[in-house]
Amino acid sequence: MTPVHDPASGRYIELPRPWPATAWASVALLLALVAACLWVVDASLSRLWAGLPRLGMWLGRAWPPDFSDFPTLMLRAGETLAIGTLGTGFACILALPLALLAARPLTPSPLVRQPVRAFLDALRGVDGFIFALVFVAAVGLGPFAGMLGVLLHSAGSIAKLWSEDLESADPGPLEALGQAGAGRARVALFALLPDRLPSLASIALYVWEFNVRASTVLGVVGAGGLGQELKSAIDLLAFDRVFAILLVILALVTAIDRLGALIRRRLG
């Protein structure tokens, strides 16, 4: 139904193009879904309204922030940073072979690729928080359990993101090398990895930033870092101390995000 020229009026006539039934159906479905979700989470504006004064009271008691035990806060911040950094670093080492095995151009056989992908999805599907909870039970309380939790979850995420990045590489040059007789493994190690290195590093940095942020709450399950202090301060209703910890978290996360962004820009 294209527009037509009407010689009598000299105008172009456009017929209205109604939405297709599928579009209406999608909108209706979406609205129904939202309604169902609101019902499930038991959303209530009145409860939010009633809770506001309590929130205000706590906020009042949070000022001024209590930095009295500053050395401990710094130690915990260091733990958080170490959990995120080591967890991401070791995850990268674990992720590299997995990414190569999960990338279609490098591992054409679905017999290998699909199980590897399923394994990655399993790692990714379980939150680092939950892994940390399990490791606390296995190796005891403290940041080591947190690091192991971050490691396992991130290995899945990084391998998945890396394999997708490798799959988006321009196939032309790789085809040329393959035509010249080089096997897939050689092509991957010699040509593909250096070619994609900037974007692979960028992905790893993103995950690192994410992990440092995520590690700030790992302590809630006893896996070390600032979360540990946060939980004990909340348990004691020491809101001025909670506020101080939140400020430290904010400073740490901001610094890491800036640093990550800076490095990623320079990677080009």
Partner: protein
């Protein structure tokens, strides 16, 4: 004067002169082809004329407004009179052909209309008329990336039409089209220039297209205009000198002349 005039244009990049005193003029309704080897400064010249780059010296005048003397809002207003057509078409791939043409009128409508995608009737009529003119009325609602290369370039020309431009700059507009489609687009460009009194400056690397469709041919070499001649006066010798005897497809030139 109306149309385009460029006087003593200088531009250096990284301390190296790219344009060293370019003088040229394009009258309304005239199609002028720009030839030159890669690195001669064609793209830089276009960017300076379009107001995308500020030249180091010289004057660019489009339809009596001196771009090089303007800044801010008046410059933006004057730049509107310059439409650009690119080798890679630069259409919004997911939008319809009609929406791409309407984009040429975006500067005339308030923000709420842009957000709701509701153009005034007059703009829609103008856009449909432009599409009709380039022979694509039946593709008005087709997505841009579903169109062939030649069709996409025609949509880009329609967009230039509704932009109400005085000058059309086309940077290698047919370089990624097959010869037959390219000739069609060039012929259309020529017709539109005559109909609308549009000054057209078009850079080409196919010498035969330049000789077949331009009113005048300019040779750009090492940042200067090496020659400014009607097509009939462009000899193979001149072209060989211009291209340094390397890049020239001599056979095709001799065939045309």
């Amino acid at each position: 004067m109306s149309g385009l005039s460029v006087h003593a244009l200088h531009k250096a990049r990284g301390g190296r002169p790219v344009l060293s005193g370019v003088d040229l003029a394009v009258r309304p309704g005239e199609v002028v082809a720009l030839l030159g080897p890669s690195g001669a400064g064609k793209t830089t010249l276009f960017r300076c004329v379009a107001g995308l780059d500020a030249p180091d010296g010289g004057r660019v005048t489009v339809d009596r407004a001196e771009l090089t003397a303007l800044a801010g809002r008046p410059l933006a207003q004057a730049r509107r009179r310059v439409a650009l057509v690119y080798q890679q078409f630069n259409l919004l791939r997911r939008l319809s052909a009609l929406d791409n043409v309407l984009a040429g009128r975006l500067h005339t409508i308030p923000l709420w209309r842009a957000a709701l995608r509701r153009f005034p009737d007059a703009d829609r009529q103008a856009a449909l008329g432009a599409l009709d003119r380039v022979g694509l009325l039946d593709k008005a609602y087709a997505r841009a990336d579903r169109l062939s290369g030649g069709q996409q370039q025609r949509v880009a020309l329609a967009r230039a039409l509704v932009q109400d431009a005085a000058l059309l700059l086309a940077d290698e507009p047919v370089a990624s089209l097959d010869p037959e489609t390219a000739s069609g687009v060039m012929a259309l460009l020529r017709e539109l220039a005559a109909e609308r009194g549009l000054a057209v400056l078009v850079s080409l690397h196919q010498v035969d297209q330049a000789l077949a469709f331009a009113d005048r041919v300019l040779g750009l070499s090492a940042g200067r205009i090496a020659f400014d001649l009607p097509p009939a006066a462009v000899t193979p010798d001149r072209l060989r000198t211009l291209f340094g005897g390397r890049e020239l497809p001599v056979a095709s030139v001799v065939g045309v002349i």
